[in-house]
């Protein structure tokens, strides 16, 4: 087998090792590439900036631990932003594991900004049914979520005073890793109840939501860890996403290198076969 032939059929484990190294090394020794903020992230940031203090924001934690590295940093960053602007946050989850992850993000952000559970933020927990839950919340939130995730009746929570249905919220932000997620919130909360909906999702699923962004059905969108890092930049904080950006940069560069290398090998092989057939 010639060298070219060997390169063409390179054992994919070599590629795996290269990717592992390019992820691990920058995590241990950060480089600090500058981060540019994309318009979709800026728009969500602006939407939150423009809310008057005291307004209520609904957050839906529709992700689970497997997608936590991507979605949690944006959840944390947006919670920090909301609390720093004195907005009140009501959290729910359409994914069972989203409850504790969302709670962790809210607690961390609340501690930094000195916010209190029950007064400044609340977590109403998980309800099964996906889109049906959003529909029901549009009609009557108190019937859908009679108590918070700890079992406290919502009548006893000051933040829930006057909250009847989705109309009580100025903005909905969905943190999504799949279904039910962004599409359900756009279809029900935005299309049916005319709420402003913003979203943060995994990088893999972000391209599918660009049509909603262009039609204005989403006020803003954070895609993957990059979206979270951009948001952290707007907040001028060094969060978990910023730390992962160098690794992602180098990994992308390595994948591009492999693609170009693969094409080069293909070109050389093609030339050789052409010469042979002459």
């Amino acid at each position: 087998m010639s060298v070219i032939e060997k390169l063409r059929n390179i054992d994919r484990r070599f590629i795996f090792v290269a990717i592992a190294l390019t992820v691990i090394v920058p995590l241990l020794r950060p480089i600090g590439f500058p981060i540019a903020v994309s318009p979709s992230v800026q728009r969500l940031y602006d939407a939150i900036e423009q809310l008057p203090p005291g307004s209520k924001v609904l957050m839906s934690f529709d992700y689970d631990p497997s997608t936590m590295p991507e979605v949690y940093p944006m959840n944390l960053a947006i919670a920090q932003h909301c609390f720093s602007r004195n907005l009140k946050v009501v959290g729910i989850a359409l994914w069972p594991m989203g409850v504790s992850l969302g709670q962790q993000a809210l607690e961390t952000a609340a501690e930094e900004c000195g916010k209190l559970y029950g007064t400044d933020y609340v977590n109403l927990g998980y309800k099964t049914g996906g889109m049906v839950v959003i529909l029901a919340m549009g009609r009557d939130l108190r019937e859908t979520f009679p108590e918070d995730f700890r079992g406290t009746p919502i009548e006893q929570l000051p933040i829930m005073e006057g909250v009847r249905n989705l109309n009580s919220f100025k903005l909905v932000v969905d943190f999504s890793a799949g279904d039910p997620g962004v599409a359900a919130w756009v279809m029900i909360a935005q299309a049916r109840y005319h709420k402003k909906v913003g979203a943060g999702c995994t990088a893999v699923s972000a391209p599918a939501f660009y049509p909603y962004l262009n039609t204005g059905q989403l006020v803003g969108l954070l895609g993957g860890m990059k979206g979270a890092a951009e948001y952290e930049k707007l907040l001028q904080s060094q969060g978990p996403a910023t730390a992962g950006m160098d690794a992602q940069s180098i990994a992308h560069a390595v994948i591009i290198f492999f693609i170009l290398f693969g094409n080069l090998v293909m070109l050389i092989t093609k030339r050789k076969t052409e010469r042979r057939s002459l």
Binding site: I19, F33, A36, A203, N214, S249, I250, I256, F258, G262
Partner: protein, 207 residues
């Protein structure tokens, strides 16, 4: 008769669901929610069948001591352990179930998800080849987006993120929309076939 009854149920339920979308009045109000609850109840019972199937297959493998039967033991022990601690102490934070879930299940799930990064690299190495003009265009767009989506792109050329955003916003969105409209129409026509009982493979159609 055995074939007709499910078809009639499907037809009636399907028509009712279409009607309830347009009529907010009783008895149609809240029907969608009720149907969904019914579905959840049925799938909860179906879970018993699923677990039964799991126990049967792996039980047989253990009793026959066929290849890899040790893994079947691990599976059944895991199934029993999680069920016992879940039913016995609940699943709230602080319980043994939560501890096991957080420290075994979650790292394992994250590991599988992380494999994606490796597979994306190997798949793109193999498949992203400039074989034709279209493939070359796709390749160029992919490289621009990949660079433009990370800080490295911004570092190399400050306009690169804008280029990536443009590709995502216009050519990508146009394609996505076309696919989405096609899918929506496909779903409607497929649903009509199921409601009318002419879809094959689900009891309908001529066998």
């Amino acid at each position: 008769m055995r074939r007709q009854v499910p078809l009639v149920i499907t037809f009636v339920a399907g028509i009712i669901m279409i009607i309830q979308y347009f009529i907010p009045h009783e008895p149609f109000a809240g029907l969608q929610q009720r149907f969904n609850v019914w579905f959840l109840i049925i799938s909860a019972f179906a879970l018993i069948l699923g677990i039964g199937n799991l126990i049967k297959i792996h039980g047989e493998r253990i009793s026959r001591q066929s290849a890899g039967w040790g893994y079947s033991v691990v599976l059944l022990v895991g199934l029993v352990t999680m069920s016992v601690v879940g039913i016995g102490w609940g699943i709230e934070p602080g319980t043994p179930f939560f501890y096991l879930f957080w420290n075994i299940q979650i790292p394992l799930s994250s590991t599988m998800f992380a494999l994606l990064a490796f597979f994306i690299a190997s798949a793109s190495y193999r498949a992203f080849r400039a074989r034709s003009f279209e493939a070359t265009l796709l390749l160029a767009a992919a490289i621009l987006v990949m660079l433009g989506r990370v800080p490295l792109g911004n570092f190399l050329w400050h306009r690169l993120p804008a280029v990536a955003t443009w590709i995502m916003n216009y050519p990508n969105t146009a394609g996505q929309r076309a696919i989405m409209i096609g899918i929506a129409l496909g779903v409607i026509s497929s649903s009509l076939r199921i409601i009318l009982g002419i879809e094959r493979g689900l009891g309908g159609g001529q066998q």
